[in-house]
Symmetry: C2
Subunit: 356 residues, 2 copies
């Protein structure tokens, strides 16, 4: 069964569980402002999202389980809360007003501020303060996925430790990226891989491990799943960087100069720094240190990328992670259910080959 | 044993545990920026603080326990992380650069920004982004207090649910307060009590309940402790409001016009709104709706407070909560250890009678 078919089986149940957790919060309060707050958080969560993390959690559980498959749905949503909580805070940091084509969470409260003619604070401060608390709430409500379900306390406790580890790793990844953003020299490809493993790989890996934990999978099998999940995240991010500069705007829906203009430390940029000769390296470095990068600069950077042949090197790196993930998956095939083995494989191929 | 004597027994152990949790994080990472980040968080935590929440957690545990009293120290620090995480985010929201006389966490990264001549982002954005993540990290590292200690999983799991509940209640209190700040009409004393119970009472209550949970105290005894803890928070906040406007600046160290100038919804203000006749009420309302409140306005507000005799009404309300807390404590006295009964009583009296 491929990824989209698998999604069809579960996404409405995942969304119903998310909705339910928020509705419990709405019902637990009398205050109108609080009722609106939890409704707004719920609507923000339900405005979109592929639910990749809950689906992988469900798949990892089902991979080791015969029969009963409903119990995993409640705890599967935990990491989706963690993911969205991070997005709420990211949107404040990046001043993004839209998320999945809908207002970002702090922007919803900037609009509330205007509609209610609030004084005594600026619009930005008001939006940011409720936005910060909104992200915090989502981090905590995510924990509730492990409180009330049909699994025993020992397993829920283990899931909570994985949830916490996932946050620590994401934060480490985001912080390494923030630091990288301020430097141009001495960033190795190893630094990049570490950063994306933490920022993106860790939560995918932990979502899978939480599912496997509830299924009481063996340690050696969890280790194989870890490699699969972590590598899936790394491949996703490398592919994202390549498509961000060399993709088809019509397919990606993202301007192909934005990564360069933002000075994002992509694998392309890091590889170029490492491969170019000193003169070209200096040119690239000077552009990347500018406060504003022009259209002409973008053309030069793209030429330097071609000269250093960074795309094929980055594809080779992605391919190495693909092969390793596939090996882990092949080792799992005799052990896990066929349906989920197919899902894991089709997702891996999809992420590696996607053009959007 | 009074509060200060009790503190002397445990505060250095509490601080050592906090330090240890952060040092584990420092040692878990290779990246220099991350090592600095966790060191900075550790130094922020250790810059000060009365450790009221860990002490109350320890006292609640010891109240029901004979002999071994060291085990509770590790989990007691959890709610101190929750408290400080909230303060880190509050300081961003309120743009406070100092906390306990030392740089606030986001301000530490504004200074880092300057020292390292970082470009590509404004100083405020840089400080805020690392500050937001810093608060998030503290929320999560607090959970680790319940992961690795000498108690069984069932009790740690229960502590985690209390930790989560505490956050939800604090957030509800802060949000109700944010909403109140934008209104002058129709705020009842019940609204105020709800707000301070959530914002301040809940974490004191949960700190005590976590201690009692580890001691496996009976439900009925926990209920009495709940009342004690919640009321302690309410009294603290009412007293804070009274001292904020009618205290002795030399003792409180806080300007006595700042609450009025900030338009803070204190119990004094709410009581004045509810007691004053329509003309006076209108005058007060007009002042409170101003963007900037002058020294002359402050004088008028203080006169209106005198006219409505709000201080004695607020003291009566505090006294009601004091009596109720004392009744709960008296009901517990035959059950709990004498040393902790004395501590709880001395703390209650101290909070109710303090002049600073």
């Amino acid at each position: 069964m491929n990824y989209l078919e698998y999604g069809k089986l579960y996404i409405s149940k995942i969304n119903a569980t998310i909705k339910d957790l928020f509705n419990q919060k709405v019902q637990s309060v009398q205050n109108e402002f609080l009722q609106k707050y939890y409704s707004e958080l719920r609507d923000y969560f339900l405005a979109g999202g592929k639910r990749l993390r809950p689906l992988l959690c469900i798949a990892a559980y089902n991979a080791f389980t015969k029969g009963e498959k409903e119990n995993i749905i409640i705890p599967s949503v935990g990491t989706e809360f963690l993911h969205n909580a991070s997005l709420i805070h990211d949107d404040i940091i990046d001043r993004d007003l839209l998320r999945r084509g809908e207002p970002s969470f702090h922007y919803r409260y900037q609009k509330y501020y205007e509609a209610n003619e609030i004084k005594k604070m600026s619009k930005d401060e008001y939006g940011n303060s409720i936005g910060i608390i909104g992200g915090d709430s989502a981090f905590f409500i995510g924990l509730e996925a492990y409180f009330n379900n049909n699994f025993e306390i020992k397993l829920n406790f283990e899931a909570i430790t994985l949830y916490e580890q996932a946050f620590i790793e994401i934060a480490n990844g985001v912080l390494i990226e923030t630091d990288m953003q301020t430097r141009t020299k001495n960033i190795s490809m190893d630094n990049y891989i570490e950063m994306v493993s933490l920022k993106t790989g860790a939560l995918i890996e932990k979502s899978i491990l939480i599912g496997a934990t509830y299924a009481q999978a063996e340690f050696s099998h969890k280790k194989l799943l870890s490699t699969y999940g972590m590598n899936l995240g790394v491949i996703f991010q490398i592919k994202d960087d390549i498509l961000g500069t060399f993709g088809d705007e019509k397919k990606t829906g993202k301007p192909i100069d934005s990564d360069i203009k933002e000075g994002k430390r992509t694998c392309l940029l890091i590889e170029a720094f490492n491969k170019l000769e000193s003169n070209d390296k200096e040119r690239l470095s000077q552009i990347m240190e500018k406060e504003e990068i022009s259209d002409e600069d973008v053309v030069i950077v793209r030429e330097l990328y071609h000269k250093a042949d960074v795309v094929s090197t980055c594809k080779q790196i992605a391919d190495k992670y693909y092969q390793e993930a596939m090996e882990s998956l092949n080792a799992l095939k005799p052990i896990i259910n066929q349906e989920e083995a197919e899902l894991f494989e089709s997702l891996l191929t999809f992420v590696a080959e996607r053009e959007f």
